[in-house]
């Protein structure tokens, strides 16, 4: 027999949780840019699954400013994210990431919530969201909880989510800037070609700085460990410091300590190890307009 997943297309969150079947594995269909491939590649137990199409739920598409945060609905596409002025102003690393994200066609469909839920260590938005101390709002029936982004991933393509957990929004704290300071951010990746590519390694940096003085910095790396990693020791080294070559070198050492890349058909562990350091050097040099290479 040929089976197909059950399919729901609710118009509101209320409707969604009313209709959600309890005896099936729930797959939320956002942009579908990953999920439909899994379906085609037979990675979904079709007989016992339910696809819940989120495309009609308007309340999941928004970008709002509150007192302390910017809140982003989980169904916001990468194209919307890239064009948004609030995002550009507060989180330059996100805008930087959107520019290298896949292709315009994929960016039109792919959503920020989907990228998180897919939980790939090479998911491009994740390192950026790590550097911004993003919190994730998750709903399941009548329950709502909020988790730090770096707490939800337990391995490649694995989250701690229970069946039916739905990411509804991202809450990203705005930074309070003292006079003369600005928020800077960057995302870099290296892949097998220039666009439409899954990263071999990636890095995100978000910082508050004034010239070469760093008030606060966060660095996260992707595709070099089972999950994205935020490297807190770099923050310890660089926070409240005037940047210099020695500190940058020490930071690179911290990256090497924590990563555990693998060999696969896309690349090698050795390359990933080396190139993620290179990406850090390039990013720091670009952000602070100084050559930290040697």
């Amino acid at each position: 027999m040929i089976y197909y997943p059950e399919y729901l297309q609710p118009k509101t969150l209320e409707e969604l949780f009313k209709e959600l079947p309890k005896n099936k594995k729930i797959y939320y269909l956002a942009g579908g840019t990953d999920l439909l491939n899994y379906l085609r590649d037979e990675l979904v137990d079709k007989k016992n699954s339910c696809f819940v199409d989120l495309s009609k739920i308007k309340e999941l598409v928004f970008i709002n400013e509150t007192n302390k945060n910017i809140e982003i609905g989980s169904m916001v596409s990468f194209n919307i994210l890239q064009e948004n002025n609030l995002v550009k102003k507060h989180f330059p690393a996100i805008t930087s990431m959107c520019k290298t994200f896949s292709t315009p066609i994929i960016s039109n469909r792919a959503t920020i919530g989907g990228n998180i839920a897919n939980a790939s260590p090479s998911g491009d938005s994740l390192p950026v969201l790590y550097t911004l101390n993003t919190k994730i709002e998750i709903k399941n029936f009548s329950q709502t909880r909020i988790e730090d982004i770096d707490k939800i991933f337990v391995g490649p393509k694995k989250t701690n989510f229970k069946n039916g957990d739905l990411i509804t929004k991202l809450i990203i704290p705005k930074q309070v800037l003292q006079k003369g300071f600005s928020i800077i951010g960057i995302f870099k990746k290296v892949g097998g070609r220039k666009s439409h590519i899954i990263s071999k390694a990636s890095i995100a940096i978000s910082a508050i700085s004034k010239s070469d003085y760093i008030k606060k910095i966060n660095v996260a790396v992707g595709a070099v460990a089972p999950t994205v990693l935020k490297i807190n020791t770099i923050s310890e080294i660089l926070n409240n410091k005037k940047l210099n070559k020695k500190l940058v070198k020490d930071s690179v050492e911290e990256i090497k300590k924590v990563i555990s890349p693998i060999d696969d058909f896309r690349s090698t562990a050795n390359y990933r190890k080396e190139v993620v350091s290179s990406l850090f050097l390039e990013s720091i040099s670009e952000l602070f307009k100084f050559n930290f290479y040697d």
Binding site: R193, K194, S195, I197, N270, Y271, E274, E282
Partner: protein, 760 residues
């Protein structure tokens, strides 16, 4: 100077462009027939083993499954005819590669057929797979072909190799390797077979070579050729990947239709196409040059091995072309080339644009740069000293004819790329982005050459209809290369009929005699000449009518593309349509068949000497790259690629061919990396196997040089493959110039570059 051609040499609009751009063109998966069933292939899930049993009982019970067939259901012969005839349509008692077809499911829809194929259970006794060419050639390895795993070997001996190296002042040698390349045509392989009331069968599909398919169906069904009709549908790219293996698909679908007596569609998924269909051979090349201090190369020795995969298919002939060209486009007095195509338990490799030459070119055009550095002569100068020119001799001792614009190709490419300036520019030490320039040159024997001599002919049928429109049938296929446009231009030019009036019909084996395959950059030359032949016969009859209308008994008739006139009174003109009308009333035959056979060629199997090809094209490419030495990422900034093709019948199409070849070659050089483990492809999709995107494509400057071939239509030779041969090596040489890292493997991945950097 007065233009003496009306439409040949003009960049007229392609005659298949409208339906392709609008999306109304019908590819094989767009066709449906009444009561049509769907096939799916059951494939080997191991690389090497014996088949113990095939259990179809569970699959057969699935609702919608019509039947499941295996080798024992084949009424005819269980191999598709291709050189060594070793590739069975369906495996009988052993499998030699992962993905080899074992059984065929036919069902009421594709999904059911696929599901049923998963439920066919095959029990194997696994055997040690032979995965490496060097191991395959060892005495103690398992033998999967003959007694030595060698599918074919060649030798070319010219002069005295030992003496040659003795005379040399400088000797360089090295080993180069290239990986697979996947054709990545947009349309995967697929066919539909429709049984006919007379017991015959008609097959429609995406293919390069309808006549190969024709032979294959006769073989599997054991029916006469005159009961089989093969029609090529609009084809979404081939690049050699639809040369031989569509015979397999067609054989399968014909079998299903024949046994079920229903139309059947068999269209591959992309993954199946990756696992089962042909690839460019991985190449292994040991190469050695010996030169005098002044740069003159006096000796060249090559040992060239291709990884043929599990069955021979086209390997012998791919190897032959590669062998003939293996020392590069140079006049070298002493040559020894030994070459082997070796069987391994991996996907069978076959034709791919360039046909054994890109691999060999990577070796010889890298080594020539290494030699230049050792001699302290510029890479350009060293090539100029040694390159082929009219009357010089190739490795097979074939004399180069007057149709050799090599010198001009090279000088134009050098000039347009500013090669020498970039080559000698020093990169700043501190910068992590290094710029470099690289050059590679090649020659290319047009057509099948001595390796395919007996199938090197082409037929054509041409008819002017009542209203003056023209229909033409040829035996070569339109794959996107634009041959229908070129053929229309040639016919229009000869007939004096407006280009818009000419239509080339869908290729169909019942319309023209076997015209050989659509490969080897041969269609413009072969079908062009066949159409030329037919059109000239009809034009003669038209001219007689024109003279009659002018009340002349003799004289030369001219055309301006829509009207005829004679030289004694050029002001007076008669319209084409008027003449055609008169011809019809007077019962003049305005149809003709045309025929062309290639000039004689030869190859001595003992010495490898002879006239390997009747004509050669010549090419040169310069690549300008930027290399990020922190990440190993290479960005190609510009490519200038020049080709002497005899005559550009349609210059814009030629430029597009060059651009396409350059891009495919760029992918071969940098991004396209097929990864196998235990003989199984790990990245059988476009998410894992990376062809260049528009963002990866540099500025491309195509250069066309026209050094006419006396036997070609309007002097044309051929172009399809030439642009694929040199760019990848030009890129590798540019990377060396930029970084000092000499890459001896294609593709040049960032992983390899950083490894080289760390070794330094």
């Amino acid at each position: 100077m007065k233009k003496n051609l009306n439409v040949v040499g003009e960049s007229v609009l392609r005659n298949d462009v409208v339906e392709k751009v609008l999306g109304t063109a019908k590819y094989i998966d767009d066709y449906k027939f009444d009561g049509m069933l769907y096939g799916f292939t059951v494939r080997s899930t191991i690389s090497h083993g014996k088949i113990i049993s095939i259990n179809i009982s569970k699959a057969k019970k699935i609702n919608g499954v019509v039947n499941i067939f295996t080798a024992k259901d084949i009424p005819g012969k269980n191999f598709f005819p291709m050189i060594l005839n070793d590739y069975p349509f369906l495996a009988e008692n052993k499998v030699l590669f992962y993905g080899q077809p074992i059984a065929l499911v036919v069902a009421t829809n594709q999904e059911i057929a696929k599901e049923a194929a998963k439920n066919v259970f095959i029990e194997y006794e696994e055997l040690e797979p032979v995965l490496d060419i060097h191991y395959a050639m060892k005495k103690n390895s398992p033998k999967i072909f003959g007694s030595d795993n060698i599918l074919r070997k060649y030798i070319i001996k010219k002069g005295n190799i030992d003496q040659g190296f003795k005379e040399a002042d400088v000797i360089v040698e090295d080993v180069f390797e290239t990986n697979y390349q996947v054709h990545s045509y947009l349309e995967p392989n697929g066919m539909i077979a429709v049984p006919q009331p007379d017991g015959g069968i008609t097959v429609y599909g995406t293919m390069q070579c309808p006549f190969y398919v024709h032979d294959a169906i006769a073989n599997i069904l054991n029916i006469y050729h005159n009961k089989i009709r093969v029609v090529q549908t609009t084809t979404g790219g081939g690049f050699g990947g639809k040369e031989d293996v569509p015979s397999l698909v067609a054989g399968h679908v014909a079998l299903l239709a024949y046994l079920t007596k229903k139309p059947v569609k068999l269209v591959y998924t992309r993954e199946e196409d990756f696992h089962g269909m042909s690839k460019r051979h991985p190449g292994y090349i040991e190469i050695k040059y010996g030169a005098k201090k002044n740069g003159k190369i006096v000796a060249a020795k090559v040992r060239y091995i291709l990884d043929g995969g599990a069955f021979a298919t086209l390997s012998p002939i791919v190897l032959w072309r590669g062998t003939v060209h293996a020392v590069g486009p140079y006049d070298i007095p002493n040559v020894l080339i030994e070459s082997f195509a070796v069987a391994t338990n991996k996907v069978p490799c076959g034709a791919f644009r360039g046909f054994g030459q890109p691999q060999a070119t990577f070796a010889n055009e890298s080594l020539i740069d290494i030699l230049a550095e050792k001699l302290k002569i510029s890479p350009l100068k060293l090539r100029q000293i040694n390159m082929l020119k009219p009357y010089s001799r190739t490795a097979t001792n074939d004399k180069i004819s007057n149709s050799c614009g090599f010198k001009k190709v090279l000088s134009e490419v050098i000039k347009k790329s500013k090669y020498e300036k970039i080559l000698s520019k020093k990169n700043e030490n501190l910068s992590t982005i290094k710029t470099g320039a690289g050059l590679a040159i090649a020659f290319y024997g047009v057509g099948l050459g001595a390796g395919g001599k007996y199938i090197d002919r082409a037929g054509a049928y041409l008819q002017i209809q009542k209203d003056g429109t023209v229909i033409i049938s040829i035996g070569n296929t339109e794959l996107g290369q634009g041959v229908f446009t070129v053929i229309s231009q040639i016919a229009s030019e000869i007939l004096g009929a407006p280009y818009e009036f000419v239509k080339v019909l869908q290729p169909d084996t019942t319309r023209v005699p076997d015209s050989g395959p659509t490969v080897a950059s041969r269609s413009t030359l072969m079908s062009g000449n066949a159409v030329l032949d037919a059109a000239k016969q009809v034009r003669e009859r038209i001219d007689t009518m024109v003279l009659k209308l002018f009340n002349k008994s003799k004289g030369k008739v001219y055309s301006n593309g829509k009207e005829y006139f004679i030289s004694t009174n050029p002001e007076k003109k008669i319209h084409y349509l008027e003449v055609i009308k008169k011809c019809f009333v007077q019962r003049i035959n305005l149809s003709a068949t045309g025929w062309y056979t290639g000039e004689d060629v030869s190859f001595d199997s003992e010495t490898g000497q002879g006239k390997a090809y009747y004509s050669y094209t010549f090419s040169a490419t310069v690549a300008i790259v930027k290399v990020n030495i922190l990440t190993g990422v290479v960005e190609v900034k510009k490519i200038v690629s020049g080709h002497d093709i005899g005559k550009a019948i349609n210059p814009k199409l030629c430029e597009a061919q060059i651009e396409g070849g350059v891009i495919q070659s760029l992918g071969y050089a940098l991004t396209e990396n097929l990864v196998l483990k235990n003989g199984i492809i790990l990245n059988p999709s476009f998410a894992g196997y990376l062809i260049p995107t528009s963002m990866d494509i540099p500025e491309i400057i195509p250069v066309i040089v026209e050094s006419k071939y006396s036997k070609g239509p309007f002097g044309a030779k051929g172009l399809g493959e030439s642009p694929m041969i040199t760019p990848s090596t030009a890129i590798a040489n540019a990377i060396y110039n930029a970084t000092g890292f000499r890459t001896k493997k294609l593709p040049v991945t960032p992983e390899i570059l950083l490894e080289l950097k760390n070794k330094k």
